[in-house]
């Protein structure tokens, strides 16, 4: 088991967001966490990353407990993060956004090589290297956010709402990219509002509602189960 979330409780201030969430991600899998807005999807990712404080339970990565580690150390162990709303850093060029991700990685000295690798996935980014990252279109910013998470050779990539606000054509190509990244050997934990897309590209799925995992199983089974869709996923 590469990543194992064990019965965690997470709070924001006084509100109890996650109430005993458990999930597992095996090496080379794409696992998706689906649920309605506010169900606790993003908080689960933030708990793994140490961005939200876990009060109880444990998180194991590669056999070691990472639940009390500061965020930067979690990242250095081989987890990378594609955040909700992309969070491209304003005032930095595309190249600088990528470089920032490389600074603490073992690819630090291989900036040009990594930019070539990014260009294989996203040729458009290479044309915009010196442009301000936030001046890119929404789709291009999403590509940059994924590129930034890719260049460190992560073992697991945590991807939060990658298709939010993108037009259907782009949704398809982002889905394609996630599959391609997974085929290159990167394990993926994906959080999505676009349930159909998430369930169609992932191997297994967890359904979260009101801070608890309600059910889990093979993605195709969840996709076919109308009862689950109606109870936990329909808006």
């Amino acid at each position: 088991m590469l990543l194992k979330v064990n019965n965690i409780d997470t709070y924001y201030g006084l509100s109890h967001i996650l109430q005993g969430v458990s999930l597992e991600v095996k090496e080379k899998e794409i696992v998706t966490l689906v649920g309605r807005n506010g169900a606790g999807k993003t908080t689960t990712l933030k708990s793994i990353l140490g961005l939200a404080q876990v009060r109880a339970g444990s998180i194991e990565f590669d056999g070691q407990d990472i639940s009390r580690l500061p965020t930067h150390q979690v990242i250095l162990r081989g987890i990378s993060y594609v955040p909700e709303e992309r969070r491209i850093i304003p005032g930095l060029s595309v190249r600088e956004n990528i470089k920032l991700a490389l600074l603490k990685s073992h690819n630090r000295e291989r900036e040009e090589e990594m930019i070539e690798r990014v260009a294989q996935y996203f040729p458009v980014l290479k044309e915009r290297l010196n442009q301000d990252g936030t001046s890119l279109s929404g789709g291009e910013q999403q590509m940059l956010a994924i590129a930034r998470a890719l260049v460190t050779d992560p073992k697991v990539m945590l991807i939060d709402e990658p298709t939010e606000g993108l037009m259907p054509l782009l949704v398809e190509s982002i889905a394609e990219i996630v599959l391609e990244i997974n085929r290159s050997g990167v394990t993926v934990l994906l959080v999505e509002q676009n349930i159909e897309m998430a369930l169609s590209i992932s191997h297994r799925a967890y359904v979260i509602d009101e801070g608890r995992i309600q059910t889990s199983g093979l993605s195709q089974d969840i996709l076919a189960d109308e009862e689950i869709q109606r109870r936990y996923l329909s808006v």
């Binding site: 990353l49 961005l51 500061p70 965020t71 930067h72 990242i75 250095l76 993060y81 955040p83 969070r87 850093i89 304003p90 005032g91 930095l92 600088e96 470089k99 920032l100 991700a101 600074l103 603490k104 990685s105 930034r148 460190t152």
Partner: protein, 292 residues
């Protein structure tokens, strides 16, 4: 009025402005990255001058003082951040403000207790004490020319550091989105610590540079702090280009006012601030909503 006198006063204003620039840069870089309003900045400036006074008293060497003052005050800043300010991160922005306000009072009192309340004479190094002919029209104290050139060099070094080095890239990024920077594997605590040290060192440097042209006494940083807050507000809180432009502008405005109407010299910068805030509420180079 004599044209030469105006030019001369312009230079005097520029040298005062350069002190503002150094202090405002320190305040701004700390505020921009840490959102800490450092009320101890004025007393760090004062400590820089005192370190200078005693270094020169012991070694007789101004250049040694020019190195030791920023170094000493910078180290002091590192200690303050690590053990007093860091525990307050994540709380209201007023906590570090109150803490540094208290520190300022303590720092002034400590100097009063050990060194008394009087002025400490301090003169420019022999090398820089003679007047220098500027543009063939007037003589200007060499030390002030040195102050202007040296500060310009420091500004360039700081620009180069922020724009061209890896650490500078992290600082620029951390100013805009510290959470994302952490999520890219960078230890922001370390960066905040270093930047507080750098900002403090700049205050110490301003102190030693000011020592030969302004009096050295325990309260010398109080008025200076207020003036530098005005500079950072006019320039835009957290903006480094703003600190430079506003520092020079206010230094020159204040010293030209001395020529025309000396009684106004001390308050004219507040008038400039009022006008700037009316026209551009977030300052000349400021971004709206920095604290939201």
């Amino acid at each position: 009025m004599d044209f030469n006198v105006i030019i001369m006063q312009l230079f005097t204003g520029l040298s005062l402005g350069m002190l503002y620039v150094l202090l405002a840069l320190g305040l701004s870089i700390i505020f921009g990255l840490l959102t800490v309003v450092n009320f101890a900045h004025g007393s760090m400036y004062m400590w820089g001058a005192f370190v200078g006074v005693f270094t020169v008293a012991w070694t007789g060497n101004f250049w040694a003082a020019l190195v030791l003052a920023p170094l000493g005050v910078g180290l002091y800043g590192l200690v303050i951040e690590r053990w007093l300010i860091r525990p307050l991160y994540g709380r209201d922005i007023n906590y570090p403000l109150l803490l540094t306000f208290g520190l300022q009072l303590i720092m002034i009192e400590v100097v009063r207790i050990f060194f008394g309340t009087s002025d400490h004479p301090f003169s420019a190094p022999a090398l820089l004490s003679m007047p220098l002919e500027v543009m063939g029209i007037f003589y200007f104290p060499a030390y002030r020319v040195f102050l202007i050139v040296f500060t310009a060099v420091i500004c360039f070094v700081l620009w180069f550091f922020l724009e061209k080095t890896d650490l500078g890239l992290i600082i620029r990024a951390g100013t805009r989105d510290p959470l994302m920077v952490r999520a890219l594997g960078i230890d922001m605590n370390l960066i905040w610590w270093l930047v507080f040290g750098i900002g403090s060192a700049l205050a110490g440097l301003a102190g030693i540079l000011a020592a030969p042209i302004r009096s050295v006494y325990p309260e010398m940083g109080i008025a200076m702090l207020v003036e530098c807050f005005v500079v950072t507000v006019v320039g835009g809180m957290g903006s480094l280009p703003g600190a430079i432009v506003a520092g020079i502008l206010l230094g020159i405005v204040s010293s030209l006012t001395t020529l025309v109407y000396p009684q106004m010299a001390d308050i004219v910068i507040f008038l400039v601030m009022a006008v700037v805030l009316l026209v551009r509420p977030s300052g000349l180079f400021g971004k709206a909503g920095l604290l939201e």
